[in-house]
């Protein structure tokens, strides 16, 4: 797709993000965050991340890639364990990539 369209989509993302951050600052007294809103927001990051991760690990949908031979599945499981143990983003990425290359090399 064209650079102009990329720039347009990115600018729209930036504008929307800015308006979200400005919302209550600009709204004065009449805008106030209710408890239901805050409670729902807590679940937005895990839900979005879960929805983004799953198709990356199973590109062909649920049925096709559940076999033990999927390098991406093994790498994801290793990353999950390392993230859990180290709570470190860099260590998670490094371990996941090493696992991916390892399984790819082993299957090749």
């Amino acid at each position: 797709m064209s650079p102009g369209y990329l720039l347009l989509v990115m600018a729209a993302c930036g504008l929307l993000t800015f308006l979200i951050r400005l919302s209550f600052i600009a709204g004065g007294r009449w805008l106030s965050a209710g408890p239901g809103f805050s409670a729902a927001l807590r679940y937005v990051p895990p839900a979005v991340l879960g929805a983004l991760i799953a198709p990356e690990i199973f590109p062909g949908g649920l049925a096709s890639d559940l076999g033990a031979g999927s390098p991406r599945l093994w790498a994801a499981l290793v990353a999950l364990a390392v993230a859990w143990l180290t709570r470190n983003v860099l260590a998670t990425i490094a371990a996941g990539m090493l696992a991916l290359w390892g399984v790819q090399g082993w299957l090749a």
């Binding site: 937005v44 895990p46 993230a83 983003v89 998670t92 991916l100």
Partner: protein
């Protein structure tokens, strides 16, 4: 660092800078990663660098790169980035009362800089510190420091990424980043449940047109999280 008692704005600004610096330890590596994987996802270098000032939100920029690389329609990308950054409305609500008396140019500037780490480093000062006419300079100090660190880290990541050969399956590092962010952000069973439900729905909905399954899955995941929350017997 020397502070001048005759210039309270400068004192607040420098205190904000100092409060933000330790947080850069986590932000700079993430910026480097984003620079590398933005290129791996297929974005041109100028777009990776520009997104750090246009969007200025780490996770949402990674999401943007991933969705653009997967040829997702523009409106779906914009909606997803909006959902990812929706939590910033909470920060906006939290700082609004401290910025109410400021002129518009300050409100616009501080809204632009209002990100996770800038908010986290400044809210304590705003809420519990002395009520002065210059306290917004503290938030400006945290936000500006984060902004500058993020721009430099992204630029460094793009230079680094350009030196990494293709064929390393480096695009998978995006999914790995998401896994790390997910594990680090989940503190309750109901949050893990929301992620799991969203993941299953995303797989079931993969055939939906325009990749709209992503937003559907996120919505169902949030609803599931709210349901699971009642099971935890905790309304916090």
């Amino acid at each position: 660092m020397p502070t001048n008692p005759d210039n309270p704005a400068r004192t607040e600004f420098l205190a904000g800078v100092r409060a933000e610096l330790p947080l850069l330890l986590g932000v700079v590596p993430f910026g480097l990663i984003f620079g590398v994987l933005g290129l791996a996802a297929g974005l041109p270098a100028w777009a990776v660098v520009l997104s750090s000032s246009l969007v200025f939100g780490g996770s949402s920029q990674v999401v943007f790169a991933q969705l653009w690389g997967a040829a997702t329609p523009g409106p779906v990308i914009v909606a997803t980035v909006g959902v990812v950054n929706l939590r910033h409305a909470l920060y906006s609500a939290a700082v609004a009362e401290y910025l109410r008396a400021l002129p518009w140019r300050w409100k616009l500037l501080l809204a632009y800089l209002l990100t996770d780490e800038a908010f986290a480093a400044a809210i304590g000062r705003l809420r519990d510190g002395p009520t002065t006419a210059q306290r917004h300079w503290f938030l400006f100090g945290t936000g500006f420091t984060l902004w500058a660190g993020w721009q430099l880290a992204t630029l460094g990541g793009v230079l680094l990424g350009a030196a990494i050969p293709a064929g390393w399956s480096l695009d998978f590092s995006i999914a790995l980043t998401f896994i790390a962010l997910l594990v680090l952000g989940v503190h309750r069973r109901s949050e893990a449940g929301a992620a799991l439900v969203a993941a299953v729905v995303a797989l079931l909905a993969q055939g939906l047109p325009h990749k709209s399954g992503l937003l559907l899955a996120a919505g169902v995941g949030v609803a599931a999280g709210l349901l699971f929350r009642h099971g935890e017997g905790d309304s916090a």
